[in-house]
């Protein structure tokens, strides 16, 4: 056990999964790096360095560079999975789902159903998602809310290094196709992560904080911010449950509903824009199934209905801040019936 960044925790999970199971391989743009060049092949490990060392350890059949052809990358993963491999494909930025959505949504995600339950497609697609890098409109989207819409896919959003490792090992072991979103703002965040292999089951939320007054459900990058907001409010006598669903599909509805039954107040926090997003999804769940417990309006804290701006100041105003979460919690306490 030692402190590891999320990047290192994911990297470790990949190393361990590949060592443990011959059918696991990694494929994507520059996941090895330097192919075809006079430089050292395998010296890159993805633009975020997440696949570092895999080429050197496992060689060219298990760590495979590709051209810039995201549809073909996802298709290759899907096809290899259909015949029994366990590929882990890397799509550099979640935004690039735009150029490979069919292969994810209409192919990989629907095989099993369309084929009458007679196929298995244990592919994992990893993406770097979300904002925080001044990367502007085409390199900052979270996209997991959109993917959550599609039946047949599982959607994972780790919020810390520990979960990232356990969830990725589960994803690779899982027999269904899994989309694994890595909030890129968290790659450098570290926490204690066991050295050995372990898995975290899908559909089981983490209770990050426990409290009585408000249920806060937060996804990915927003979990830390929500925790900071909640911790700051303790002094004011407000105590909150903080739930990190960890997977948006499946969603741990029971955990959320149980908490809302107890607190009577719900705030859902995500960094994506509001429309048809996860904040609405969870809010609507409570408005149906925990309605009678609710004491106050269900609040969504999210980005506005705008693309992600480039300028650091604009992006800071775009992504929900600790202050915004805090203010919302306080307003909610004031507003209850």
């Amino acid at each position: 056990m030692s402190e590891k960044t999320m990047r290192d925790a994911i990297n470790e999970a990949l190393h361990q999964a590949m060592a443990a199971d011959e059918s696991v391989f990694v494929i994507g743009e520059d996941v090895a790096g330097c192919n075809g060049s006079q430089g050292e092949v395998g010296s890159v490990g993805g633009v975020f360095g997440v696949t570092s060392g895999l080429y050197k350890t496992f060689g060219p059949d298990r760590c495979i560079d590709t051209p810039i052809s995201e549809s073909a990358i996802v298709g290759a993963a899907a096809g290899a999975a259909l015949v029994g491999m366990r590929p882990v494909a890397e799509i550099m930025f979640a935004d690039f789902i735009g150029v490979c959505m069919d292969q994810i949504v209409n192919q990989m995600g629907k095989f099993r159903y369309m084929f009458g339950g007679k196929s298995k497609c244990p592919a994992v697609i990893r993406f770097a998602s979300g904002g925080g890098f001044s990367a502007a409109g085409q390199h900052s989207q979270s996209m997991y809310q959109v993917m959550t819409s599609f039946p047949g896919l599982k959607v994972v959003i780790p919020s810390n290094a520990y979960d990232a490792k356990g969830l990725l090992l589960q994803a690779i072991r899982d027999d269904d196709p899994v989309l694994f979103f890595e909030p890129k703002a968290l790659y450098q965040e570290a926490c204690e992560v066991p050295d050995e292999m372990y898995t975290i089951p899908f559909g089981e939320a983490a209770f990050v904080r426990e409290g009585d007054d408000v249920t806060v459900v937060a996804f990915g990058q927003m979990v830390n911010r929500a925790a900071a907001a909640i911790d700051a409010l303790e002094a004011e006598g407000i105590s909150c449950d903080l739930i990190d669903p960890r997977t948006s599909s499946p969603l741990d509805e029971a955990a959320i509903l149980e908490s809302v039954e107890a607190t009577g107040r719900l705030i859902v926090v995500d960094e994506s824009p509001p429309r048809c997003g996860l904040t609405a999804d969870v809010a609507a769940l409570a408005a149906d199934k925990a309605f009678h417990a609710l004491k106050a309006p269900v609040k969504q804290v999210c980005a506005p209905h705008s693309p992600t701006p480039f300028s650091p100041e604009l992006e800071a105003a775009y992504i929900p801040s600790v202050e915004k979460i805090q203010t919302t919690i306080k307003e909610l306490m004031a507003q209850s019936r």
């Binding site: 073909a72 290759a76 096809g79 015949v83 590929p87 209409n106 095989f111 369309m114 599909s249 999804d281």
Partner: protein, 328 residues
Amino acid sequence: MSLPKEKLLRAYRQMKTIREFEERAHAEIMNGQIAGFTHLYTGQEANAVGVCEHLDNDDTIISTHRGHGHCIAKGADVIGMMKELFGSSEGLCKGKGGSMHVADMEKGILGANGIVAGGPPISVGAALAARIRKNGRVAVSFSGDGSVNQGTCFEAMNLAVVLKVPAVFVIENNYYSEHTNISYAVGCDDLKARTEGFGFPVFVADGADFFSVYEAAGKAIEHARAGNGPAGVFAETGRFHGHFVGDPQTYRAEGELDDLRENSCCLKNFRTTMQASGELSMEELDAIDAEVMTLIEESVSAAKAAARPTPEQVTEDVYINYSGQASA
């Protein structure tokens, strides 16, 4: 080219099975017995069979929206397929896929595919698995003359070359993508050359002649199986029906359909060749015809009698294991 008698009989039987399956499906669609969008393969049988006769169960194919022929040629259960078209829960895909999604993993059929050029990238993945496992398998994808203009098809071809995988791209040029002629939709004058420009050899075949396809496909598959990377087959062919059932076919030249049925029928051609070579007698072929008609008849009766799906089945088979609950 001379083939063992067994092989010849089998090839003819496969082509005839596809033909009669399709003609009967056509009739049942007109009857209102088969729902949805169905694209018939009639006229192109020699392509599917000429290719698949080189494959065994562990090799894979991935097909298109016009998938019945490829699936039958690769060994899909005809009765299970007919039941699927009828939407029965006993169908090959429990009635969940229908015509555009017939699949059978055990037979190496990675599915018909409703998305034009959805298949080639997936096939490259199956080929990559074969390369990694060094098991000598090949992965074949079928594409039409329209499908080759889709970005995913190009990406798949380039990736297959880059990764040097045993992927075989079979392009069936039936001259039309829906209502548009290849001479419009493919901008260049030479599709074979454009394809070869990606860096693999493409073998040309007469798609109305089993032997021609068999030979070209043999070369392509051998090339791929031997570890030389991908290869292609380019076959000119014609479909005897419209794009979908009900297509007014205003794109046809006068007499085109008659001409096709008369001069580009792979079954007729096969018989002519056999008659000339004497390798098979017309009686032997007639016997197969009769057996095929019986099988097709049987498949339709079975499909009509088969169990219908129940509402609970709607939510089954989405996942292998979905521990969380869905919202609705």
